[in-house]
Symmetry: C2
Subunit: 291 residues, 2 copies
C-alpha cells in the first residue's frame, strides 16, 4: 500500500490551505499513492491557542464544502484521503472530526476525537465536544483504517480498541508543538515521547502507525503565551515499531512510503499479545482511579 | 531514591547464583542503594526452553529458603529487594512470582505473573499457572511499587492498571533474548521494540520504569532450538520515557541510578492523561476481539 503524508505550515485563509493541500495530493498521486493523510485541522491556523467564541464560525458541516472538494479529488485521482475538520454538528455541538474520503468520492466514515486535551495554548475542551462515535475503524476500499486524532495518540486504550475492532493501520492527524519558552532538553523529551508512545502502539498491536503533524510557528492571538512551534516530524512506523520514514521538524514535506499489511499476520504469529490479554482481569480499566 | 539493577548471566546451581546476587547487592549497598531489582528467575537457568516435568523440582515455596536469605539481607542492609522466583504453591499449581522483601526483612508482597507467554524456546504456559492476584502494586517502606514480570511488559493494560492503583514506579524483572537464528536486523527490531514499549508505559502513566534483564547465552537442553542469547540492556527511564541508564547487551552489570518520584506530580500536571481517559468508552477492552 502506497501512502503519502502531507506535512504543512498553515495560514489563516482556508481556501489557500486547502488549495495547497490539494496540489500536494495531486503531486503525490503521480507516484501511485493510494492513501493520503492530512494533518489535524489542515484548513486553518490552530485556533485553540485561545478561547474565542467567534472562532466557532470556522466550523463547517460534514458533509460540507471541504468534504465535497476532497471527495471529488479522491474520486478523480482514485485514492483515499484522510482529512481532519472542525465539524459543526448543531448549535453548541462542535467536534474535532476526521473524515475519510474513499476513492469513489464518497465519505467512507467519520471519527470524532474522543480524548480532548486542555492545557495552556491548547484549549480544546472549549471548542470540541468529546466524540460519541466510539473507537470504530473506518472501512474503505483499501481496508479498515483506525483513524484517531492527536491527543488520542497518548492513550494506549484507543489504539488497542481500534486494533480489537480490526483496524489494519492506525492513523493520527496531529497538531502538536512546543511552547517556545521550554528549554531545548524539555522540548526534546516531549517530541521523543510523542514518537515513542506511537511506535509503542504499533508494537502492542502489530499494526503500522501513521502520524501526520503540522509544522511552522503560529502566534497566540491573545498574546498570553509565546505561541506554538509545531514540531512536524510526521512519520510512519512498521508493525514492530520500526521507523520507516520521518519528516523534518521545521520543513513542509510530502512523505511517501510503502507498507505491507501482510506484516501484521506475520508479526502477530510470533508475538501473540492478543492471544494472551487477561480480559478476565481488566475490569478496573473502566475506573478513573482506584482509591 | 537510589536504585540498583543487577544484570547477570546465570548457571545451573541455585546456590551459586544466589550467592553472586547477594554479593552484588552488598556492593550496591555501599553506595547508599535503597532499592535493588533482580532479574526474572535469577536463581537458575531459564528452564522454560523445553517442557520437562522434572523441572518442577526447581520450584520453591514462598515464604521459602530464598525469601529467607534475601529477607535477612534486606534487613541487614536496610534496603528493599525485588526478587523473582519459581513458586510452588501446590501440587500442579506453580507460578512465576515476584517477591518484594522490605527493609525490615519481611515480605512486603508478591505479584504472580499475569500474562504468560508461549512460543518456541519460551514454553511458559507449561510451567506457570496464570497469576490470580491481579495487578496490585506492593506497598513498601519506599513507596508503592508496581511490580510486573517480563511478558507483562508488552501489555499497556498491565502498566495502566498498576498506575491506576497508585504505583509510583513500574518494575519488570525480565528474561528475554534472541533466537540466534534470527538475522541481526530482526534482532535489532526486537530489542528496540522491547525498550520502546516499556518507555511508552512511563510516558502513558507518568511514572519511571525499571527493566532488569538477564544476559548470557543458554543452550536448549532439548537440542531443538539454537538456545537463547539473552539481550541484557537493562534500563531505567524517567516519567517522560527519557533513558536514564542502560546496561550492555552482553555484559553483567550493576546499574546504579537515582530517580525522583516528585517528577510524577510535575509531569502529570501538564500531561494529564489520567484526567482525560474515556472510561465511558473503554468497555470493549474486556473482549478478546470484536467480531
Amino acid at each position: 500500500m502506497k501512502i503519502a503524508l502531507i506535512q504543512q505550515a498553515n495560514e489563516a485563509d482556508p481556501e489557500v490551505n486547502l488549495e495547497r493541500s490539494m496540489e500536494a495530493i495531486r503531486n503525490a498521486a503521480t507516484t501511485g499513492t493510494q492513501l493520503v493523510i492530512l494533518q489535524e485541522l489542515h484548513t486553518g491556523l490552530y485556533f485553540c491557542q485561545t478561547e474565542n467564541p467567534d472562532y466557532f464560525d470556522l466550523a463547517e458541516p460534514i458533509p460540507g464544502p471541504t468534504t465535497e472538494q476532497l471527495g471529488a479529488l479522491a474520486q478523480e485521482l482514485e485514492l483515499v484521503i484522510v482529512s481532519s475538520l472542525f465539524e459543526r454538528r448543531a448549535a453548541g455541538i462542535y467536534h474535532n472530526t476526521a473524515v475519510v474520503l474513499d476513492s469513489d468520492g464518497s465519505i467512507a466514515g467519520c471519527y470524532r476525537k474522543m480524548h480532548i486535551p486542555d492545557d495552556p495554548g491548547f484549549y480544546e475542551k472549549f471548542y470540541f465536544t468529546p466524540g460519541d462515535l466510539g473507537f470504530r475503524p473506518i472501512d474503505t476500499s483499501l481496508g479498515r483504517l483506525g483513524v484517531l486524532v492527536c491527543w488520542d495518540q497518548w492513550f494506549p486504550e484507543a489504539a488497542r480498541l481500534m486494533a480489537l475492532a480490526g483496524a489494519q493501520i492506525l492513523i493520527y492527524p496531529t497538531a502538536i508543538g512546543w511552547n517556545p519558552d521550554d528549554d531545548p532538553q524539555e522540548q526534546a523529551r516531549q517530541r521523543d515521547a510523542w514518537i515513542t508512545i506511537q511506535r509503542a502502539h504499533a508494537i502492542a498491536n502489530g499494526v503500522p502507525v501513521i502520524a501526520c503533524n503540522r509544522t511552522g510557528f503560529e502566534v497566540d492571538p491573545s498574546g498570553v503565551t509565546s505561541g506554538i512551534q509545531f514540531w512536524g516530524s510526521s512519520f510512519v512506523c512498521g508493525t514492530q515499531g520500526e521507523m520507516l520514514v520521518q519528516a523534518e521538524v521545521d520543513q513542509e514535506a510530502v512523505l511517501l512510503v510503502q507498507i505491507d499489511p501482510a506484516q501484521t499476520e506475520k508479526v502477530r504469529r510470533i508475538w501473540p499479545y492478543l492471544r494472551d490479554r487477561r480480559i478476565d482481569a481488566y475490569h478496573d480499566l473502566m475506573y478513573r482511579y482506584l482509591d
